[in-house]
Amino acid sequence: MKKIKKIKIRLNGKEKKIAYNYKIKNLINDLKIPLKKVAIELNQEILDKKKLNRIKIKKNDKIEIVHFIGGG
């Protein structure tokens, strides 16, 4: 089997390796994150959740996935 090339990104402040041809949607699917309960930021720009399968992840991209937690 041919080895898929991987790229480094930063996801929620931590380094992660993903396949070079990944779209944001692939990443979210892998993480099994309920899309309705989160917001996603790519290099400090908020992404439209309807367009995640169009956005390709590039090397060194910074991705933040946030949700609501308890707070005052």
Binding site: N12, V38, V66, G70, G71, G72
Partner: protein
């Protein structure tokens, strides 16, 4: 009393108590306390999803945002840029436009940084947010926030989590008299009577987190705050007697034996 609705940015609520969802032992304790408090609005924080532990419970599984209004808060933000980023993300999660702005300037006392708060209020209002603003108990600043498009003024009673109760009743009263916007005491309450005092000063609501979450019996304290807010509101609407520096007998003199 039935028609006495709590209205924020044209949205009507029955309960005038807003509760925070932080500092509880776990989510089920938080959800039960919220239920007992009768609150229809809860503040929530925006934070990173835990990528490594996917089994970690989600707040939305315990408190249904369809039944209870989530009020995203910018707690932990120390400048306008961070606060704007947080609230824009919050809006993206599910269309939340009603938000609480809290820009802190002082890590020790957690006092609000009012210049940054004012700047953020202007930007958010222009972007269509309905901004409820945590602020100092300063009537002049409260006025400026109002002029910048705030939908509710939320002065502190005392430093966040301090439990000191309302330190400057005069200023709160002055702010009350100058604004028609919802006035909500936010931060620093310690016990139920503090909430009653806030309501008696004419505030439209109170926001409580630590005083309930960290009470020895959070569920009982949630109930106590619920009752105190109701009592305080009724007392305010009933019109208190004037204060006089002398005794006035309650029983008639006529017919004394």
């Amino acid at each position: 009393m039935e028609k006495d609705k709590f209205i924020i940015a044209k949205k009507k609520f029955n309960s005038r108590l807003i509760v925070g969802t932080g500092k509880y032992k776990n989510m089920s304790e938080c959800a039960k306390a919220v239920k007992l408090s009768g609150a229809e609005i809860v503040t929530v924080a925006v934070r990173r999803v835990n990528i490594t532990d996917k089994k970690k419970p989600l707040l939305m599984d315990f408190i249904d945002p369809k039944k209870i209004t989530y009020l995203p808060n910018t707690a932990g933000c120390f400048n306008s840029k961070e606060a704007l980023r947080t609230l824009r993300l919050a809006r993206e999660i599910g269309g939340w436009k009603l938000v609480k702005l809290e820009v802190l300037g002082d890590k020790k006392n957690l006092f609000p940084e009012m210049i940054e708060t004012l700047k953020s209020t202007e930007v958010l209002a222009k972007e269509g947010f309905k901004v409820m603003v945590y602020c100092n108990d300063d009537p002049l600043m409260a006025k400026r926030l109002e002029n910048s498009g705030a939908k509710a003024i939320m002065p502190l009673a005392a430093p966040i989590g301090s439990g000191l109760g309302i330190l400057n009743k005069v200023n709160i009263k002055i702010i009350r008299n100058q604004t028609k916007l919802p006035l909500i005491i936010d931060a620093g309450l310690g016990q139920a009577s503090d909430a009653a005092i806030a309501m008696e000063l004419g505030c439209d609501g109170v926001l409580v987190n630590t005083a309930i979450a960290k009470a020895k019996k959070p569920f009982e304290m949630a109930l106590a705050f619920k009752n105190a807010v109701l009592a305080g509101r009724q007392s305010y609407q009933s019109g208190r007697i004037a204060k006089v520096l002398m005794g006035r007998a309650s029983s008639p003199k006529k017919g004394i034996i």
